[in-house]
Symmetry: C2
Subunit: 219 residues, 2 copies
């Protein structure tokens, strides 16, 4: 899961066969070609074809993500599992850095003091530090973080380059993703309860592969 | 996802509500009480109730996992996303260490030379180092690693304390989990294609909470 492409020929054969199976089983869908590259990688990461019904792209979201990554954007994530899964070499080749504040002492202290969540305070810290604008923001776990991000965009003018909103959960997850989808901002979300860090990783890896295919960068 | 219990009161409330929703929606199942603690945490991590049909425990698997963790067993994982998601403080309190070999240079070189996969070579390295016996082995990504582990148990007498076999995939994933379930060894698997690192993390965190509830350790 922490490779976009397998390192060995056997690994690559397994991946190619997996994608062929996904293509043969998915049935009809209305995704554009570039969007489908993202969705199929999410299905590859989960073996869950329901994501073909759940994934929702704002107009131009994939292009916005590619442009941001090729421009060396910061990738802000809510949990360490996403950073651990991301291909650091691919990101570094574009000058992208991955940042997460959820384990910072000041974030933990602020969440306890205000009885919020660490995820909310981590997004607020990113805003304070000026990291949100122009960033690819990937939320795989915390609906509270995504709701706060929606508020920062709609009320305070934050301008992330792309929001990858795929928290999993039973409380507020679906609502948080609808709030993001309703924004006038580039976003890729998984509607409903499902999501998680592997979905966030799969989306960013798909965007990195599309970035490489767009030429001029790493291959 | 990298906490078993949320740090703030709000976080805990959200988690409690989530588990109440899961309990109210899951319907009838045949899991023992301790097994259900594991399955519901997997559903919590995925929002996918299909896991209530897919999870399969060998007799005594939960007790074997608790005993191993409380005894300070090594936790061997196939990918960094699992280590990143695990609660290090909880594990350290029992003296458990988390190890992974998939990014080791010698593992990568061996996989390329033999045209196997990094995951296979990582399991072989664990065997050579004597790490497999008595370990909790959690495979969330690589069916090839799980197949090699099944072979090491059935043909070479490897004796892990518990096998958590939850790779996701379209090629060999289902078969690899059936191979583990057929062994005379403690195992927890998710049948079929579905799985992934959050499922592995959820299972180990559930076992850690059950370990704490069993008394005498951390709380």
């Amino acid at each position: 899961m922490n490779d976009m492409r397998q390192m060995t020929a056997l690994g690559r054969q397994i991946e190619d066969r997996s994608f062929a199976i996904i293509d043969s089983e998915v049935g009809a869908h209305a995704f554009a070609a570039d969007e489908w590259q993202v969705v199929r990688r999410v299905i590859h990461a989960t073996a869950d074809f329901e994501f073909a019904r759940l994934m929702r792209f704002s107009p131009g979201a994939v292009a916005a993500g590619i442009a941001a990554l090729r421009g060396g954007s910061t990738v802000l994530v809510d949990v360490k599992m996403i950073s651990a899964g991301l291909n650091e070499d691919r990101l570094a080749a574009y000058g992208c850095r991955v940042v997460s504040y959820i384990s910072d002492d000041d974030v933990i202290a602020a969440a306890r003091a205000a009885n919020t969540t660490r995820a909310i305070e981590a997004i607020r810290k990113a805003r304070r530090l000026g990291v949100l604008d122009g960033a690819v923001v990937a939320i795989g776990n915390a609906p509270t973080a995504l709701l706060e991000l929606a508020r920062l965009v709609s009320e305070e003018g934050a301008r992330p380059a792309l929001i990858v909103g795929v928290p999993v959960g039973f409380v507020s997850a679906a609502e948080s993703k609808e709030a993001i989808a309703a924004l006038d901002a580039p976003s890729i979300v998984a509607r409903g309860r499902k999501g998680g860090s592997p979905i966030a990783v799969a989306i960013i890896h798909a965007l990195l592969l599309l970035s490489a295919a767009a030429g001029g960068g790493t291959t």
